[in-house]
């Protein structure tokens, strides 16, 4: 679908800040607040804006226990439906955060979140590798997130500029 300049502008601005105040956003795009709300609603209805989410650095939270693993999955595609059917069977599990069809030596890249390594391991051995089309799995646990969805997790650089300059 084709979007106009204002719609693209709005998407670019909220992509990294979903909580921005609509009055401020309207000023930035140079439209009325009412028009902005109509546009946002339209983009939401069209599922162009799928959901407003928050990027949380859970590693900083002591109470949070959890591990993330990325699993390379080799599968046998089925006649007629290709990879879509097996992908669907995988992405329906709530433990699964993302599923991508990949070029290269394996077919699906699956991200799993679990409370512990054991939990992830049993998901892979009991649910994932037992699927008919799955030929093999290789599980990689994430040890540390440096950057996620374009956001660097370590503290940002402070402003190093001199306070007043010509």
């Amino acid at each position: 679908m084709h979007l106009n300049t204002n719609e693209l502008e709005i998407l670019k601005l909220i992509e990294n800040n979903g909580r921005i105040d609509t009055a401020d956003l309207a000023k930035m795009v140079d439209v009325s607040e009412k028009d902005l709300e109509v546009t946002l609603k339209k983009l939401e209805d069209m599922k162009v804006i799928v959901r407003y989410m928050t990027i949380i650095d859970w590693a900083k939270v002591d109470e949070h226990q959890g591990v993330t693993a990325m699993i390379d999955v080799k599968v046998t595609p089925k006649r007629g439906v290709g990879f879509d059917e097996v992908a669907k069977r995988i992405y329906r599990f709530k433990e699964v955060q993302s599923v991508y069809l990949m070029s290269g030596v394996y077919d699906l890249s699956v991200t799993i979140e679990g409370k512990s390594m054991n939990e992830v391991a049993s998901f892979v051995s009991e649910k994932l590798s037992t699927l008919d089309s799955v030929i093999s799995t290789t599980t990689h646990f994430i040890l540390k997130k440096y950057k996620h969805d374009g956001i660097v997790f370590v503290q940002g650089d402070e402003d190093k500029r001199i306070v007043v300059s010509p």
Binding site: D30, V163, V164
Partner: protein
């Protein structure tokens, strides 16, 4: 012991920049929200920084050709062609300089004879008039008016031309007003330039930061290429201020004359920065686009917010400065800036430092994070309410 009397007359007569005073004051304070910064808030793109690191690893630590790396000059001419539809010969018509500031300096010195006048369109960047004086010329300030959105008109220009006038120095989009001249504006000026046989120093350092209308280079106007020195650089559009890298594009005779000064006074621009600039021109245009989009949104926000809190502000077409009027407060721009800094810890630059026609205005740079801009607006609202 060196006494003041030993100093050259030219330097003794030179006034220190009024910006200095505000820097000294603001630098001592804690918790200042600064709208006084004349440079991007972005750090140079990593790919550009990485190219400089790689150049050091490969041992590119020697001089380059006086005019700059040929590879860079070729990239510059390609850029001038694709962005502004201007053709320059990379072998004879481009000089890579230490910032646009040095480009201005060698341009002035190459062209001005003692006593010749250079028309400086004000409000203007603080260095213009001093650079004219240092080159032996006489800066003739030409005021533009807030009522016209600080646009220079052909009529205003013609009114200050004398038999001694040699050149016009112009900057669009402008620091500090943000005003951009479009094709019609430049065309109107070009007739006067031609009629009086003037040279144009066109400072196009903010060319990449034009938000509403397409940027047009003065040299691309019919008949202007052969009398225009285009001054540009990497500081603003590519967020590379600290690298000190600029360039001039000018017709052969002018470029050769500037190169003569450059080779004796500077030798060449920093090699590491030149390698970085090659990468910026080859692969950095997407980042420039992202930065432009970000500035545009912040410009819209700050200009609307200023008007809302009672500071009349025209919509600046480019650069990253808003130039609101503070005349309603009855204060001089210096008093306003000083009180705003002391009472609410917001730094802006008084318009008067950019020439007498800047009096009654302040320059507020919106090259700061959105949160900082919000905070600044809130503090300025309170400041105005408590007057």
């Amino acid at each position: 012991m060196i006494k003041t009397s030993y100093l050259s007359k030219t330097v003794q007569e030179l006034q220190p920049s009024g910006i200095r005073k505000f820097f000294d004051l603001a630098a001592t304070m804690e918790g200042v929200v600064s709208l006084g910064v004349g440079e991007p808030d972005f750090v140079t793109s990593w790919s550009v920084r990485e190219a400089a690191i790689a150049s050091l690893e490969q041992g590119h630590t020697s001089y380059t050709a006086n005019a700059g790396l040929l590879e860079l000059r070729k990239e510059i001419t390609k850029y001038m062609k694709r962005s502004f539809n201007l053709e320059y010969d990379p072998y004879h018509e481009v000089v890579v300089t230490v910032g646009a500031s040095q480009a201005l300096d060698i341009a002035m010195r190459a062209i001005i004879n003692p006593g010749e006048e250079v028309i400086v369109v004000e409000p203007s960047f603080v260095a213009y008039a001093p650079l004219v004086s240092l080159a032996g010329g006489i800066p003739v300030p030409l005021a533009t008016k807030g009522e016209n959105g600080f646009k220079l008109t052909a009529k205003d220009l013609e009114a200050v031309i004398t038999p001694k006038t040699k050149a016009l120095l112009i900057c669009s989009p402008n620091n500090p007003t943000g005003t951009q001249l479009n094709k019609e504006d430049l065309l109107a000026l070009s007739h006067i330039i031609e009629k009086h046989d003037l040279v144009v120093f066109s400072d196009e350092i903010y060319a990449e930061l034009a938000y509403d209308e397409e940027f047009v280079s003065f040299a691309s106007i019919n008949g202007m290429r052969d009398r225009t020195v285009v001054i540009n650089g990497f500081s603003k559009g590519f967020a590379m201020t600290g690298w000190r890298l600029g360039f001039v594009c000018a017709p052969y005779e002018l470029a050769e004359a500037m190169l003569k000064i450059h080779q004796y006074a500077m030798m060449c621009a920093p090699t590491m920065a030149q390698y970085a600039a090659v990468e910026a021109l080859k692969n950095g245009m997407h980042d420039v686009e992202d930065m432009r989009r970000s500035y545009r949104a912040r410009r819209n926000y700050i200009v609307k917010s200023f008007n809302e809190i009672g500071l009349d502000c025209h919509v600046p077409g480019g650069a990253f400065y808003a130039f609101p009027s503070i005349k309603k407060t009855g204060m001089t721009s210096e008093k306003f800036a000083e009180r705003l800094l002391l009472e609410e810890k917001v730094a802006v630059v008084p318009g008067s430092v950019f020439g007498t026609s800047g009096e009654g205005y302040v320059r507020a740079s919106y090259a700061s994070s959105f949160e900082q801009l919000q905070e600044a607006v809130q503090r300025m609202r309170r400041f105005l309410e408590n007057l």
